[in-house]
């Protein structure tokens, strides 16, 4: 399943139009503690979080995550989006909660 294929079922809006959506989503991660994500993350994961500062992109990029999904319609700073575009990490936003988003992602077969 690609990042593009998550947009409809997870009710996502793409905030970084210049990033690639063809990356394969090979797992998921729901966490707002960057330290935990650093320790437990793996390449290809879709990361659901309400954290939106610059370091989110640094962590996502180091782990080679497929995308960052911002939950609860949280505001994302322009600097974060600029960095995400530079690092080619798609950032998508949904009004849904982290709980609902992860449930839907799991139901789509992402384990």
């Amino acid at each position: 399943m690609t990042v593009a294929q998550l947009i409809e079922p997870l009710e996502l809006t793409l905030l970084t139009p210049q990033t690639s959506l063809e990356r394969e989503v090979t797992g998921g991660c729901v966490c707002d503690l960057l330290s935990f994500v650093m320790a437990r993350g793996d390449a290809g994961m879709a990361w659901i979080t309400v954290q939106t500062h610059l370091n989110v992109i640094a962590v996502a990029s180091l782990h080679e995550f497929s995308c960052v999904i911002v939950a609860e319609g949280s505001a994302v700073e322009p600097e974060t989006l600029a960095k995400a575009t530079e690092e080619d990490i798609p950032v998508l936003r949904s009004a849904l909660s982290e709980y609902t988003l992860s449930g839907r992602l799991y139901a789509l077969g992402v384990r």
Binding site: S35, F36, M38, A39, Q51, L54, N55, A58, L62, E64
Partner: protein
């Protein structure tokens, strides 16, 4: 980069300023790109990038500033992280997962979960830490290039 290809070793030192969260990750990203270009195994690159990111964040959060020096040898890489204080009172405690002295503000950013040092140790093949209160802390991590 030409220098790296011609010689078998390479060394680079970069400074990390106190409190500079916005810049955190830049050094690890540059290591990652450099090592990828050198053809280093992707798993080693990943481990080193994670360890160096934790080090960058630690320097920004906990210290008065410091430096990171990477040395690439033909069969291993050494990363030395050095700061100018304040030093760690109890290294045993600092190495325990879940123990942190980070401020509330740092925790709001999602850091300060007490996982940085244990994560560095887990990601490296050798890990040594020495610290003196009022002087500073030095961490030396080794990464083998061949399994």
């Amino acid at each position: 980069m030409e220098r790296i290809e011609k010689e078998t070793t390479y060394q680079e030192t970069r400074k990390v300023e106190k409190g500079d969260f916005a810049a955190a990750g830049q050094i690890s990203a540059s290591y990652k790109n450099m090592l990828k270009r050198l053809g280093v195994d992707s798993k080693v690159v990943r481990r080193l990038a994670i360890a160096s990111y934790e080090a960058e964040i630690n320097l920004a959060i906990h210290t008065f500033g410091g430096s990171m020096t990477i040395t690439v040898y033909p069969d291993h890489i050494v990363l030395v992280v050095k700061d100018t204080g304040p030093g760690i009172a109890d290294i045993g405690l600092a190495m325990q997962e879940g123990y942190s002295t980070a401020s509330e503000q740092v925790r709001m950013l999602g850091f300060g979960a007490g996982m940085g040092l244990p994560n560095m140790k887990r990601c490296s093949d050798t890990f040594e830490i020495t610290s003196e209160l009022g002087i500073g802390t030095t961490i030396e991590m080794g990464f083998l290039l061949t399994p």
